[in-house]
């Protein structure tokens, strides 16, 4: 589904990613771990299409298509979703209108008619119930005045509404208390299907107690230095990142 080959990425002539290789297949959950500042968020942003980065080498294929040539919105309509580490506040735009616009633009891209209003509202309710989100979201402006936990839950809610094939969650667990963490993890588990995939970026192993990954990667200094099963995450937790650092030297 996603195939990244020798990806090198810079910002302001500073190289952040130094040759990433990653293969994600349908049905898989990948975890990307690593210390701060090693390029985890950069990788997520480049897949979603953030244009402040410069790709100097390598390629990203998604469902066989060259992702790097695709506009941001087309990537989304092709099924890529980025759960933001810092969701953006957009005063004046209600969540209902935001999601309705997004859902209908993605439908348009796929040649479908807009979803009727009542059907859309029913879907919103259903997804809220599925995720056990009880907050009254509909008429609030997107992320405006939300607590950290509310913003992250709102990301998961958007993911549920848009039903992506490939969801990348960028440190969705950061700043969450244990209840919010459970809601986020629960959401991912409920949305898992054989035909979709998740890439969960996290600093801590804690989230992986609730979302069990198939493959764990350690990103260090712009490269994936180790990949393994879920036990790699536990080992990392016990030994700390110093262990990787020591091995690399």
């Amino acid at each position: 589904m996603l195939s990244i080959k020798n990806l090198r990425v810079s910002i302001n002539n500073k190289e952040i990613l130094r040759g990433i290789n990653l293969e994600v297949k349908p049905g898989e959950v990948h975890a990307i771990m690593g210390p701060n500042g090693t390029g985890k968020s950069t990788l997520a942003s480049v897949i979603a299409g953030r244009d402040i980065f410069e790709v100097t080498e390598g390629e990203i294929l998604y469902k066989g298509k060259n992702l790097l040539e695709m506009p941001i919105e087309d990537r989304a309509s092709e099924g890529i979703f980025l759960g933001f580490q810092y969701p953006v506040e957009i005063p004046g735009v209600s969540i209902t209108n935001f999601m309705r616009t997004a859902v209908n633009e993605q439908r348009k891209y796929r040649g479908l008619d807009p979803m009727p209003a009542n059907e859309f509202l029913a879907k919103m309710e259903a997804k809220k119930n599925l995720l056990e989100i009880h907050a009254k979201l509909a008429n609030r402006s997107v992320n405006e005045g939300f607590s950290g936990g509310e913003k992250k839950k709102n990301e998961i809610f958007q993911m549920a509404m848009l039903e992506p094939a490939l969801a990348i969650l960028d440190e969705t667990d950061s700043g969450l208390d244990i209840d919010a963490l459970k809601i986020v993890a629960n959401g991912v588990n409920k949305l898992r299907r054989p035909d979709n995939a998740f890439v969960v970026i996290t600093h801590y192993q804690r989230l992986l107690e609730y979302i069990v990954p198939d493959i764990v990667h350690v990103l260090f200094d712009g490269r994936i230095v180790r990949s393994g099963g879920k036990e790699l995450a536990i080992e990392l937790e016990e030994k700390g990142y110093e262990w990787i650092r020591a091995e690399l030297v």
Binding site: A48, G49, R50, P71, I72, E73, R75, A76, S77, F81, L82, F84, P87, V88, I90, P91, G92, V93, T96, N97, F98, M99, R100, T101, A102, N104, E105, Q106, Y109, A117, F120, L121, N139, S141, Q158, L162
Partner: protein
């Protein structure tokens, strides 16, 4: 056209000559005081002439190009070619208003009757009021619009003969929203001095919508002055809706005189116009008065918008709240000057001022200047101004959900303007203006061939890709 003179590119001399030849006719129904006031006004205009960019208040708004045109100065109404049926069509569907129309500056008697006329509410032509209600005119006309320091107000005061006169007696809530539609339609280009006078009695309430529209794309210059008096505890909801063609100049001087405990809300919505200058002068002249002075402007091409707000806190315990938001694209230019004066006696004043702008293109310009002048010590005042582009983080966020760049831009611009539109307290009017703003942002609203509120009446409700309707 009777009394029409074509200027030879010296518009000031032409106007002075016009005065010399016609002053007897212009002053025909004047009291001694008003006759004197007009003479004083023309003297001031003769001395000062039109404003120019050497003057601090006009530094960024240049009238010279608009003045360099041989205008007609209609001294009498010319209604021969008016299709009244066309004008009648301007009623807003689903929105009960009592509409009065001005055509090339002259009031048109549509034969309609205000429901509360029997209670003493008057809405009529100003020229008619000079004859029928000389006492009311004598009490108010020219008393709130000082001519000494504003040569355009002086020019208007000298020549003004028609416009709208509104009088609301004490303790009266005018149920109908009064809508003033000012239509310009003249192939040769007209220069008009429209004048309105609005007097609202104690404890009375009025809702007023003032629409300035072009019917065609002919050149025109409107120099409008409106005096508004709110007696103690009166309330006015006032909206200015401006949709003029790119060859129009519209100067809008409004003088609000706000009594004790009175409440003013005025909102200037500028959608189109070659050159628009709104001067809102608010005097809070009684304890406990309040004024909301709001505005939103959406300008592009070579359009120019200038909002000048002067709030005079003359008495204690008054509050004022200014918020102007604008989006400028292409080569459009904008000016905001907000001046708050807190006089020595005006203790416990609370005054807030803010001007926020988004510049879409790198050729668009805004000059924004907040100015606080405070002589009392127990005062809360704040001001702010921002100029920015559309937030790139927000753009990325929206697009990452599948929203196209164009719609993401529109969504953010709409959200920016919505803060002002959402403050419109007449629900049907809010819906209409909401639609107009969307149309404007989509580039679908050019100069209407009819009243601005009518322009899309026959169409479907605006179908935004982004359907912002409340669901």
């Amino acid at each position: 056209m009777d009394g029409t003179i074509v200027a030879n590119y010296n518009i000031k001399d032409t106007l002075l000559g016009l005065w010399d030849d016609n002053s007897a006719r212009i002053c025909m129904n004047d009291s001694a005081r008003i006759k004197e006031l007009r003479k004083e006004s023309i003297r001031i205009f003769a001395q000062k002439g039109f404003p120019n960019t050497k003057q601090e208040k006009w530094r960024n708004t240049d009238l010279s190009k608009m003045l360099n045109h041989p205008y007609n100065f209609p001294l009498e109404p010319d209604l021969e070619n008016v299709d009244l049926n066309e004008v009648f069509r301007c009623d807003v569907p689903g929105f009960e208003t009592y509409m009065v129309a001005q055509y090339n500056g002259w009031f048109i008697d549509r034969g309609n009757q205000l429901k509360q006329a029997a209670e003493g509410v008057i809405v009529c032509s100003l020229a008619e009021a000079f004859v029928k209600y000389p006492r009311l005119i004598e009490d108010a006309f020219g008393k709130y619009a000082p001519v000494a320091d504003n040569s355009l107000t002086a020019l208007n005061t000298a020549f003004a003969r028609d416009g709208v006169f509104i009088y609301v007696p004490d303790n009266t809530d005018v149920a109908e929203t009064v809508q003033m539609v000012n239509l310009i339609n003249a192939t040769d280009g007209v220069f008009l001095q429209t004048r309105n006078l609005v007097v609202i009695g104690q404890n009375s309430v009025l809702r007023l919508v003032q629409c300035d529209d072009s019917i065609d794309d002919h050149i025109g210059f409107i120099n409008s002055v409106t005096e508004v008096v709110l007696a103690d505890n009166a309330r006015l909801d006032h909206y200015k809706l401006q949709n003029k063609n790119d060859r129009s100049a519209l100067i809008n001087n409004i003088y609000f005189h706000v009594g004790a405990g009175a409440n003013l809300s005025t909102n200037a919505i500028s959608l189109n116009g070659g050159l628009i200058r709104n001067e809102a002068n608010v005097t809070l002249n009684g304890r406990g008065g309040h004024a909301d002075i709001l505005g939103v402007y959406l300008m592009d091409r070579n359009q120019h918008i200038d909002n000048q707000v002067f709030v005079d806190h003359a008495q204690p315990d008054c509050t004022s709240n200014e918020l102007f938001k604008g989006i400028l694209d292409d080569h459009a230019s904008g000016v905001f000057n907000g001046h708050i004066l807190v006089r020595p006696d005006a203790q416990r004043t609370n005054a807030y001022q803010n001007n926020k702008n988004i510049l879409i293109s790198d050729k668009a310009v805004i000059d924004t200047k907040p100015f606080l002048e405070i002589y009392a010590d127990d005062v809360k005042c704040s001001h702010g101004a921002t100029v920015g582009q559309l937030d790139s983080e927000a753009m990325f966020y929206l697009r990452s959900r599948g929203i196209s760049m164009e719609n993401a831009r529109m969504l953010l611009m709409y959200a920016f303007a919505a803060e002002i539109v959402n403050k419109i307290s007449i629900p049907q009017l809010q819906l209409r203006i909401d639609d107009l703003v969307k149309k404007r942002l989509r580039g679908e609203l050019s100069v209407c061939d009819q009243c601005v509120l009518h322009c899309n009446a026959k169409e479907q409700k605006v179908a935004f890709e982004i359907d912002m309707s409340k669901i």
